[in-house]
C-alpha cells in the first residue's frame, strides 16, 4: 500500500474537516454586524463558543500534517503565501480572543464584536486567496519558492477569496438556522436566501476560470475521461442548491446546514479532481513532496488510532451542546 496516497487523503480530510467546521463559525463572524446588538449577537456567539477551539485545531492538523507528511510542499507553499497567511493568523488572533474578551468588558463590547467580525473576514479572505494562489501556480526553483512576495495577488485569487467569504457566510447562516430559534433564526434564514444565489454565482465563476489557468485542469475537465465527471458535477451542485433553497423555503432547521455542507464537499471534490496527484499544481506531485516511508508509517499508526477517537469525543462535545442555544454567558 502506498502510504503517500493514504496521507494525501488524510491531509485532504483534515482540510475538509477544517473548512466545514471552522467555516460555519468564521461565517457567523462574517455575518456578525448583521445581527442586532444584544440578545441576537449573544446567541450567535453562544452557538459556536463551545466548539470553535476544536474546529480551529483542524487547521493546525492540516498545517502540521502537511509539514510531517509532505515537508517539501509545506516549505514551498507557506513562503509563497507569506502575506495572506500572516494576515490569516492575525485575523484568527483577533477573532479567537473576542470569544472571551467581549464577555469580560461590556464597555468595549462593540470593539470586540468588530474584532470578531473583521478577524473572521480577514482570515476567510486570506484562506480563499491561498486556494486561488495555489491553483494558479507557484514559482519554484530547486526545493524552494522563487517568486516575489506579491505573486499570490491576482484577479483569480481575489475571486476565490471573495467566494469563500460568501461560502462561509452561508454555512454560518445555516448553522444559526439549526442552532437558534425566534428572530435570529428568521434573520439567518433571510441571509441564507441572499447568500445562496451569490455562492452559486461565485462557484460558477471560479469553475469557469479554473480550467483556463493550467493546461492540466483543462485536460482534466474537458477531455475524456474527465468529461464524465465534468457533466454530472454542475448537475449535482444544482441538485444540492435546489434542495438547500427548498429547505430554506420550508423553514427546516437542520436541512439547510446539511445541504450547504454538501455544496462545500462537492466543491472540494472538484478541487481534488483538478489537482490530483499534485500537491502544488503543475509543479510538485505528492510523491515528490512526500516524507520518507518511516515518517509516514510512524504517524499513520497514531493517526489511525487517534483520529477515530478524536471524531468520537468531538461528536460527544457537539452532542453535549445539542439543541437551541440561549443568550446568557456560559
Amino acid at each position: 500500500m502506498d502510504l503517500t496516497i493514504v496521507w494525501a487523503f488524510l491531509i485532504a480530510f483534515a482540510v475538509a474537516a477544517y473548512v466545514v467546521m471552522d467555516g460555519f463559525d468564521l461565517g457567523i463572524g462574517i455575518l456578525f454586524p448583521a445581527f442586532r446588538v444584544g440578545k441576537e449577537r449573544d446567541q450567535a456567539m453562544n452557538a459556536i463558543a463551545p466548539v470553535w477551539d476544536g474546529n480551529e485545531t483542524w487547521l493546525v492538523l492540516g498545517g502540521g500534517g502537511l509539514m510531517a507528511a509532505f515537508p517539501l510542499a509545506y516549505a514551498i507553499i507557506l513562503p509563497a503565501l507569506y502575506a495572506p497567511l500572516i494576515a490569516m493568523l492575525l485575523g484568527l488572533v483577533f477573532r479567537g480572543v473576542a470569544f472571551e474578551f467581549r464577555w469580560r468588558d461590556a464597555a468595549h463590547r462593540p470593539w470586540w464584536d468588530a474584532a470578531f467580525c473583521i478577524g473572521s473576514m480577514v482570515a476567510t479572505f486570506a484562506q480563499g486567496i491561498t486556494l486561488g494562489a495555489l491553483l494558479q501556480g507557484i514559482t519554484i526553483e530547486g526545493r524552494a519558492y522563487a517568486g516575489g512576495w506579491w505573486e499570490w495577488l491576482s484577479p483569480f485569487s481575489l475571486l476565490t477569496g471573495a467566494s469563500l467569504l460568501v461560502g462561509y457566510a452561508l454555512l454560518g447562516a445555516a448553522w444559526l438556522i439549526w442552532k437558534t430559534e425566534g428572530e435570529i433564526q428568521q434573520d439567518a434564514r433571510r441571509m441564507a436566501k441572499w447568500l445562496l444565489p451569490a455562492l452559486i454565482a461565485a462557484l460558477a465563476m471560479v469553475s469557469l476560470a479554473t480550467p483556463f489557468l493550467e493546461a492540466q485542469y483543462y485536460q482534466r475537465w474537458f477531455e475524456i475521461p474527465g468529461l464524465f465527471v465534468t457533466i454530472p458535477m454542475p448537475l449535482l451542485v444544482g441538485v444540492a442548491s435546489f434542495a438547500l433553497w427548498r429547505s430554506l423555503k420550508r423553514d427546516r432547521d437542520a436541512h439547510p446546514f446539511l445541504w450547504a455542507l454538501s455544496l462545500f464537499l462537492l466543491s472540494m471534490a472538484g478541487l481534488a479532481i483538478s489537482m490530483w496527484p499534485d500537491v502544488i499544481p503543475g509543479r510538485v506531485t505528492i510523491w515528490q513532496a512526500a516524507a520518507p516511508h518511516s515518517s509516514q508509517a510512524f504517524m499513520l499508526v497514531g493517526a489511525s488510532i487517534l483520529i477515530p477517537i478524536i471524531l468520537g469525543y468531538t461528536a460527544w462535545a457537539y452532542w453535549v451542546f445539542r439543541g437551541k442555544v440561549g443568550e446568557g454567558y456560559h
Binding site: G54, Y74, G96, W149, S295, A303
Partner: protein, 494 residues
C-alpha cells in the same frame, strides 16, 4: 549589513518575539489546568464549597489565558513554514511527525473537552465534568511532552540519517528521536517551571487579597460583612495551597535545573561556557563569575565578583575539574555570551528567591502566621510574575545558547531561513508586535481585573447552604475543618 543578513535578523526577532509571547500562556495554563483539576477533585471528594468557589474563580482566568495560548500557538505552527522553510523541508520528516502527534494527542484533547469544562457543568453532571477537566489538564501535559521533544531534538539531535535530498530522516528507532539525550531533563525542568509559575501567580493573588482584607479590616474593624467568611476562606486556601507548592517544588526545581545543566555541559559545552562567561580554559578549576560583563569581541569577561573554583564545583561537582572555555571553540560556533550570561543569572536568581518564599512560608506555618504576616504577603505579591520572567529567561538561555545552530551542530540558523524579502518580514514583524501588545496586553488587563475581584461564594444551588459570617462579632470562628462548612479562622486571628 546585507539584505540577507537583515532578513535573517528580522525573521529571528519575529520568531523570538512570537514564541516568547506564546510561551507565557502555556507556562501558566499547564499549571493552572492541573490546579483546576485538583480543586475540582477536592470539591467532589470533600463537598466543600470553598473548592468549588476557587475552581470557578480560576476557571474564568484559565479561559482567557487558554484562548490567548491557542491563538498565539496557531501562529507558531505556521511560522516554521512561512519563515523557516529550509528548516521545515530538511527537518520536516523528523520533527513534523512529532508535532503531528502533539496535535492528535494533545490539541484535540484540550479543545474537545475545553468546551465542556468551561460551559458544560450543568449539562453533563459532576463526574463527567471532572473527566473533562482532567482531559484538559492531561492534554496540556501531553502537548508539553511532544513540543519539548521537538525542541530537545533540535538541541541534541539523535537517531537521524540524511537522504539524497539532504533531509534529516529517521535513521532507526523513533524512540531514539523522541527520547533524545536532553529531552527528559528539559521536560521535567519546563513542566516544573510551569507548576511553579502558576503557584506564584495563585500565591500572589491570595497574598494581595490577604493584604487588602487586612487593610479593610483596619479601617473598619467591626464590619464583619466586609469579609464574607467563605470568600475569606477561599483566599486563605489558595494562598496556603500556593505556598505549599512553592515550598515543595522550588527546591525540586533547583535540583532538576542542576541536572539539566550537567546534561547541557555534556552535549552543548559551548552553551554552558557562554552561560558562565568563561572564554579562557581553566585546567585547575574554574571560578564562578557572579557578576561580570562578557565581551565576545574582546573574548573576555570583565569580572566584578567571582567565587574561586565554584564553577567547576557546580558543573563537575569537583572544585579542581578542568573546564574548556569558549576560546577552544571556533568563533563561528560560539553563542552570544552577552545575552545568555545574564538571562541565566536572572533565571537562577529568581529560582533562589522562589526557594526563599517557600521557606518563609514554612516558617510562617510553623509560627501560625501564614495568613497574618504582611511582609510575607508583600513578598509573595512581588514574586507573582517571577515565574514568567524566569521561564522566559530560561528559554532565552536555552535557545540563544543553541546559536548559531538551529539543529545543533547540523544546520546553521542562517541556512534554515525562508526566501522572504526584507520588506515582507519587516511588515509582518511590525504587525505581530502591534497586534500582540494590543490583544495580549488587553487580555492581561482582563485577567488582572478578574484577579483583583477575588473569589466569591459559588452559585447558590451548588453551595450546601448559604454561608454567613458568624454574626455581628468578627474574629475567630468556632468552626473546624471538615465537620462545618464554615471557614477555619483560628490560624489567622491576631
Amino acid at each position: 549589513m546585507t539584505d540577507a543578513d537583515t532578513a535573517l535578523l528580522l525573521a529571528r526577532i519575529q520568531f523570538a518575539f512570537t514564541i516568547s509571547f506564546h510561551f507565557i500562556f502555556p507556562s501558566f495554563s499547564i499549571g493552572l489546568a492541573s490546579y483546576l483539576a485538583v480543586l475540582e477533585g477536592l470539591w467532589l471528594k470533600t463537598g466543600k464549597a470553598v473548592y468549588l468557589a476557587l475552581f470557578r474563580y480560576w476557571l474564568k482566568i484559565f479561559a482567557i489565558a487558554f484562548g490567548m495560548g491557542v491563538v498565539s500557538g496557531i501562529v507558531m505552527s505556521y511560522q516554521f513554514g512561512t519563515n523557516w522553510s529550509v528548516f521545515s523541508d530538511r527537518a520536516g520528516p523528523i520533527i513534523g511527525p512529532l508535532m503531528a502527534y502533539e496535535v492528535l494527542t494533545a490539541f484535540f484533547l484540550e479543545a474537545g473537552f475545553l468546551g465542556v469544562m468551561l460551559f458544560g457543568m450543568e449539562k453533563v453532571g459532576k463526574g463527567l465534568h471532572f473527566v473533562a477537566t482532567l482531559m484538559v489538564a492531561i492534554g496540556t501535559f501531553i502537548s508539553a511532552f511532544w513540543i519539548l521533544s521537538v525542541n530537545s531534538w533540535m538541541q541534541t539531535p539523535t537517531g537521524w540519517a540524511i537522504n539524497a535530498q539532504g533531509q534529516f530522516v529517521p535513521g532507526g528507532s523513533w524512540l531514539n528521536i523522541i527520547f533524545n539525550p536532553s529531552f527528559p531533563y528539559r521536560l521535567i525542568h519546563t513542566v516544573t517551571a510551569a507548576y511553579l509559575t502558576t503557584a506564584l501567580v495563585v500565591g500572589a493573588v491570595g497574598a494581595w487579597h490577604l493584604l487588602k482584607r487586612r487593610r479593610a479590616g483596619m479601617v473598619a474593624p467591626t464590619d464583619g460583612s466586609q469579609n464574607a467568611p467563605s470568600s475569606d476562606e477561599a483566599v486563605r486556601k489558595m494562598f496556603s495551597m500556593a505556598m505549599w507548592m512553592a515550598a515543595l517544588v522550588a527546591p525540586v526545581q533547583i535540583f532538576v535545573g542542576d541536572l539539566h545543566g550537567l546534561n547541557t555541559l555534556e552535549h552543548q559545552p559551548a552553551k554552558v561556557m557562554a552561560m558562565e562567561g568563561h572564554f579562557e580554559s581553566y585546567p585547575n578549576g574554574a571560578p564562578l563569575i557572579l557578576i561580570g560583563m562578557p565581551d565576545s569581541k574582546a573574548e573576555k569577561t570583565h569580572v566584578l565578583l567571582e567565587i574561586p573554583k565554584a564553577s567547576s564545583l557546580i558543573l563537575k561537582h569537583d572544585p579542581d575539574a578542568p573546564l574548556e572555555g569558549l576560546k577552544s571553540f571556533p568563533r563561528e560556533d560560539r553563542p552570544p555570551a552577552e545575552i545568555i550570561f545574564w538571562s541565566f543569572r536572572i533565571m537562577v536568581g529568581l529560582g533562589f528567591l522562589m526557594l526563599g518564599l517557600g521557606l518563609w512560608s514554612l516558617i510562617a506555618r510553623v509560627r501560625r502566621r501564614l495568613y497574618d504576616w504582611p511582609s510575607l504577603h508583600r513578598f509573595a505579591l512581588i514574586m507573582g510574575p517571577a515565574g514568567f520572567v524566569a521561564v522566559i529567561a530560561g528559554w532565552i538561555t536555552a535557545e540563544v545558547g543553541r546559536q548559531p545552530w538551529v539543529i545543533y551542530n547540523l544546520l546553521r540558523t542562517r541556512h534554515a531561513i525562508a526566501p522572504i524579502a526584507v520588506p515582507a518580514v519587516a511588515t509582518s514583524l511590525a504587525a505581530f508586535v502591534i497586534v500582540y501588545f494590543i490583544v495580549f496586553g488587553i487580555g492581561t488587563i482582563y485577567i488582572l481585573k478578574l484577579m483583583a475581584r477575588g473569589p466569591e461564594i459559588g452559585e447558590p444551588q451548588l453551595a450546601r447552604a448559604p454561608i454567613r459570617s458568624a454574626g455581628i462579632t468578627p474574629g475567630p470562628s468556632v468552626g473546624r475543618r471538615g465537620a462545618d462548612p464554615r471557614p477555619d479562622q483560628s490560624e489567622g486571628a491576631d
